[in-house]
């Protein structure tokens, strides 16, 4: 079974062999490294760009305008913030040109904490990304979604932001329904086939397994765990954490529903509505700093449209509004949601009597 990062690599391989991807590029994306997280090893269209994020986004825009299918990587989303004007431009080009030019490009970038990455390798990007009109935005939490969302992003005619949760890159499928159609059963075998060897790689070529197409629809959430007492709506790294929390809470008789949003724009509002109408209590969880946070948008809409369904105030569990995520364990843990925090928040919501 593939890890999440192998799933990305497999999708890129399928993208460049079957769906017209012409360029997979960014800093250290090409040989010999194939990406700082190995996401782009062995891909025939992968190449190393200059160390210039503005050039990476700009060049992807130009490639897209010229009918190519680029997948541009920003090495860490922490370093994307000098390109926000270009991202806005990519998102408004179709609209400003009254439909004349679109930007069928994918921007792929690792996000989130959980690897003791300190101030500049722990950032989230969902607040900023969701505030930029004209982009679709996806964020997987397991290998199957990572694979299927990336293929959907690749064939999408619009710019798509693909956020890869850093802390889950080595995560594997949690059961058979999180598997990639056609992937080998044997992890060791898969690794041998597609992971670049240590040392000299100049003679190495990957053996790609015959994986099948899979398009996870952009805009469709997944119910990660059904439950009836409290809804937890989350995505990315905090998704498995929420499932874990639900398992713990089940021991106390609290039946938690966990929804994996997967797409942040467009997002699956009907799935949220259905869950809130069932549980009447909802917690939104994400890793971003909590002021002007995408979870606050979801709360606003929940309050706006479902006010009389709510048996308790909807809650947000998000990152502390501090300037960075500190390196020391104590600091990181105090800055972004942890398992205990989710358990506590759900417990409090459940206990709450209207």
């Amino acid at each position: 079974m593939a890890t999440l990062v192998q799933a990305i690599r497999l999708a890129l391989h399928v993208g460049e062999t079957r769906h017209g991807v012409t360029d997979i590029f960014g800093e250290d994306v090409g040989p010999p490294l194939g990406g700082v997280f190995t996401a782009t090893q062995g891909l025939k269209t992968a190449w190393n760009s200059p160390l210039d994020e503005r050039g990476i986004i700009g060049t992807a825009m130009g490639l897209a305008m010229a009918g190519q299918r680029p997948v541009a990587e920003i090495q860490f989303c922490d370093y994307i913030y000098n390109t926000i004007d270009l991202l806005k431009l990519a998102g408004n080009t179709l609209w400003c040109s009254n439909g004349a030019y679109n930007m069928p490009m994918v921007c792929m970038t690792p996000v989130g904490a959980g690897i003791r990455g300190s101030v500049y390798h722990s950032h989230s990007f969902d607040a900023t990304a969701t505030h930029i009109p004209g982009w679709k935005i996806v964020i997987p939490s397991n290998p199957r979604d990572a694979y299927g969302l990336l293929l959907s992003a690749i064939v999408d005619p619009n710019p798509v932001m693909y956020l890869a949760p850093k802390g889950l890159l080595r995560a594997k499928a949690n059961g058979p329904d999180e598997r990639i159609p056609g992937e080998p059963d044997d992890d060791r075998l898969l690794s041998k086939m597609i992971d670049a060897p240590l040392g000299d790689r100049s003679q190495w070529t990957p053996q790609w397994p015959a994986v099948e197409d899979l398009f996870i629809p952009i805009g469709e959430a997944r119910v990660a765990r059904r439950g009836s007492h409290v809804s937890v709506i989350t995505y990315g790294r905090t998704l498995p954490m929420a499932v874990k929390a639900a398992e713990e809470l089940a021991k106390e008789g609290i039946d938690t529903e966990v929804i994996d949003l997967r797409s942040l724009h467009p997002y699956d509002w009907p799935a949220i509505v259905a869950s809130v109408k069932k549980t009447h209590k909802v917690l939104f969880v994400n890793e971003e700093t909590e002021v002007t946070n995408f979870g606050e948008h979801l709360i606003r809409r929940t309050v706006d449209e479902l006010f009389y369904e709510l048996w308790a105030a909807p809650k947000l569990l998000a990152g502390a509004f501090v300037p960075g995520i500190g390196l020391a364990d104590n600091l990181e843990k105090a800055s972004v949601p942890q398992l205990e925090g989710i358990i506590d928040a759900v417990r409090t919501l459940h206990r709450h009597q209207p």
Binding site: T22, D23, P50, D52, R54, G55, I57, G58, T59, A60, M61, G62, L63, A64, M65, A66, G67, Q68, P70, D85, L86, L89, T93, L94, W95, C96, S97, N98, G99, A100, Y101, N102, P104, P133, G134, K136, S152, V155, D156, P157, N158, D213, F215, I216, P217, I218, G219, E220, S263, H265, P266, D268, W269, P270
Partner: protein, 349 residues
Amino acid sequence: MTTTAHDPAAASALAPELLLRIHDLMVKTRVLEERLITMYKQGDGYFWIGGPGEEAFNVVLGLLTHKGRGPAYDYLHLHYRSAGTLLALGANPVDFLRQMKNIASDPFSGGRNFAGHSVIPEWNVVPITSPIEVQYSIAPGTALAQKRSGGKGITIVQGGDAGTAEGDFATCLVWSSRRGQELPVLMIVTNNHFGISTPFEGQHGETYIADRGKAFGMRTEVIDGNDPENVYAALSRAMDYVRTEKKPFLMEAMVSRLYGHSSASGANYNAGEADCLTRFEAKLQARGLITAEACEQLRAKYTQELLEASKRVREELPPEPETIWNHIFADTDHVGDAARGAAKSEGDR
């Protein structure tokens, strides 16, 4: 100057028909700009920005462009002073009036964008945008597609002098000159010696902006952009090099800013700047290729045509409020359930 390009021999190399064609387009462009300014002053638009003073350069650029759609043809990443280039390609001047009047029929933006922000996908004219210099970060992308396709298409990217201070200008230098992976990019700086109110002097350590290409092994040239014959020769050489060698070239053209920066600075004629049109007309007249009277007539003809067009445009309809929701995404115009539906069907492919 890096290369002195004012070569009288080259001038005489152009056929009289071509010279008259250039002149015709220069007049047409100038009259269009003047009409746009008048529209602004009469309240038929909120803002004017354009290229009076750049006609000699821009018209010739349009004439030399290989126009068409896709990587086999030239890509044009222009700026908001490029009407001359677009008219030379064959654009309809009335479309510029429509954008000025921000009406629904504005083909460039449907009444969304300012005058001078053209887009013509049929001829690879990518959207002209307000942010200064971003086109220089985007241009390497179209050029890479062209290099790969193996055709004769090149990427042309143009901007002003002050804007070269943005990092994007350096991005274009870096990305288009990587050794062994050079890109067919013609970088053009149209130097009018000002950024809004700020003079060139005091902001630049470079004597010539074009010199910045040298460290990157790029060919460079500084030219007088007010003389269309000179421009023709220099641009022909530069384009030929880029097309054949598939390597970048940086050209700096000295031009005038005849009506100031934009309507924000009044948009009045500045007699202190060299006027490429009167200069060229004097030359053509001296050579007996056209009479002063014929020049007057040509100008009067276009003036009348555009005056009438501006009246028609005034009667056309504004965009409807709900059109703000159009063209957010290519596959669906509305966000939310509709987009979700679209995504679902996509999954079924």
